[in-house]
């Protein structure tokens, strides 16, 4: 879904709540959860190839995308992150045979649920990045960062609220 950057008086406005604003130089925080065998290796390759991407992503390593419990996504959005990127092996390439197939089902339902309760769907993104796809990882991060920048801050359910 394409969204316009909402700006008012030099401030970026949250897509979810017009009361929430941030200064124009605001930078989102994106939580990246990557599987060890494909995507984490792919992100390492991005590094070794010196391909540049936006510095907003914070990466967590897990063994497999199937290790990602939906509440990691929920918790990230609730507390620290303005967006989440989960990445695993391409279908059929899972190091653990079938993990990403189970994960894929959970991701779809989680994404739709979060969107339903009022998170913009672009805040929850998934990708398949193989260990050889260093350039793809950079592209994905750039796209996700750009999308989330447009959505503005997600302060509604931030740490300080509880």
């Amino acid at each position: 879904m394409e969204t316009e950057v909402k700006e008012a008086q030099g401030k970026i406005i949250s897509a979810e709540n017009p009361d929430i604003t941030a200064p124009a130089d605001w930078q989102p925080v994106i939580m990246g959860i990557l599987c060890n065998w494909c995507s984490y290796a792919g992100s390492d390759l991005t590094g070794t190839s010196r391909i540049q991407y936006p510095p907003n992503i914070r990466i967590i390593r897990v063994p497999c995308s199937s290790r990602v419990d939906p509440w990691f996504i929920i918790k990230s959005l609730q507390t620290t992150a303005d967006g989440v990127l989960i990445s695993g092996c391409h279908p059929g390439d899972c190091h653990y045979i079938s993990g990403n197939y189970y994960a894929r089902r959970r991701f779809l339902v989680t994404k739709k649920l979060l969107n339903f309760v009022g998170y913009h769907e672009n805040r929850i993104q998934f990708s398949w990045v193989s260990a050889a796809e260093g350039p793809k990882f950079a592209k994905v991060v750039a796209k996700v960062t750009e999308d989330i920048k447009k959505l503005g801050p997600l302060h509604r359910y931030k740490k300080e609220n509880f």
Partner: protein
Amino acid sequence: MARVGVFVCFCGANIAGVVDVPAVVQEAKKIKEVKIAIEYKYVCSDPGQQMIRDAIVQNRLTSVVVAACSPRMHEKTFRKALSDAGMNPYLLEIANIREHSSWVHQKDKKAATEKASDLIRMAVAKSIANEQLHEISVPVTKRALVIGGGIAGIQAALDIADARIPVTLVEKSPSIGGRMAQLDETFPTLDCSQCILTPKMVDVASHPYIELIPYSEVIELQGYVGNYKVKIKKKASYVDFSTCTGCGTCTQKCPVKVPNEFNMNIDKRKAIYTPFPQAVPNKPVIDAEHCTMLLKGKCGICAKFCEKGSINFKMVDEVIEREIGAVVIATGYDLWDPKPYEEYGVGRYKDIITSLEFERMVSASGPTNGVPVRPSDGKVPKNVVFIKCIGSRDEAKGIEYCSKICCMYTAKHAILLHHKVPDSHAYIFYMDIRAAGKGYEEFVKRAQVETAATYLRGRVSKIYKKGDKLMVRGEDAQIGQVVEVEADLVVLATAVIAPKDNPALARLLGVSYDKYGYMSEAHPKLRPVETAKAGIFLAGCTQAPKDIPDTVAQASACAAKVCGLFAGDTMKKDPMISTINNEFCSGCQNCITVCPYQAIVTEEIPLGYGSKEMRTVAKINEGVCQGCGSCVAICRSMAITLAGFTDTQIINEIVAI
């Protein structure tokens, strides 16, 4: 209270050129739990590691964070440094500030520095929840089971046994040898198949480390890698192998004649028989389905003539149990039944035969003493048409895949035909010639040039009878015209298919199989020999169609894998696996469904302390678990924990920023 040490690496200019390392160290010092934060030029160097070791001892650290390159690079190095300082190596966390920060944000030094600080905060938060883990050692039973006594099974068994590891070789039929024993000569060198195979068969029989159990089947497999228990059903042979000398009198005297499956039913064998003259073991068995004594209680001629009194009509099936550590599956292949090719007259015309029937005919020890003949009238054929891709690459009637070996053996058949019947002529209808292999293309050329076989590119549309000849009508796509060939004999290169028992065997062994019935390898490129179930390996056509060199190579690869598995008395395993807290397990068994390795089983535990009533919970077999965490994420009651990636650790990382 946690006492964390943070060690930030310059990595020369790799990190320090972009990230402001001293600033990062100052930031790290602000974290409550961080006791010490130091920067160093190359932390991975010997002095760098020494610095970590000293800091651990001096500051009584409870966990260590190294901010440097990717954990995929130096995790092992730093873990060893921790070990050397007397600290549990799994209390290490690595913040990847090179691949994930300095190298990818070279133009934005401020953001890269901030990110590096965040990554360190996350690693510190995670490391606080790290637990001491210990390498798991699983005992191994050093005995391998090989299922199938074809060339794959023979090669695997011999290679394993040569490493002085005992092998139990189970073969379904009365003799080992498999399909290769049925072949006459082999491409691309035209070695006599029997001549290269039978010495290996004899080696198997005489090898001190090989226990050969012919005429038997695996009926049960329990346990896990290194510790399997197998049950083998030894079918009643009605012949006491320990006293039988294999003289063959019984087979001569037996009055019952049965189609000989070894010779593709071209001739007959007796009800008491050895499959072929070079059989190993060279002892006869009684075919219970046809023996009149066993069926009707009359006859017993074989018993009368047996000087040793080895015939025992009261013999029953026997179940043998063995403890084994690894399994090699080498069940081979079957051939596709070409019946659906009705337009060719398969079944109606006797002079249409399959390649393996042709192979048996041209075999010197075959039913026709090495001369191909027409089944209808016994005449030697002059014009022979070979049709390739019968069933292969045919989604409509057969299977989608290429059977891989047909192009080569058809070329071989053309050459063999020329050798046996010099004034004959071979016509070969083909879709493509796939001759990738050492010496293969040259071999096909040899068939085309030396033998002058006519290669016609195109499908055959129809075969019909004209007098005592078969008219083969097909398209020659290269000239774009319909051609008709008058044939004395038509040979169909039928597709290679998985043995029909493969799915049942796969389920019994707990390995997966594909839609065609071939056993599935763990990874199509990187683990083509292993199955997803640890300790079970695949050799030969049980995995996919293969020629003999590939089969032998894969069998030897299996042997190498088995020997590697058995290299120590125990297997060392990474401790980052799942464990179930059965206090919280509700026994829904959903984890068993999602586990890709069948690593989870049920167990009965008392309902409460001292209770006699039992409840069912799940239990993870640490020998099998690979630590993917699928079960952890689906466990609603949070009873499963994945060491190294616990919920607390990951949540700590998430909230640390």
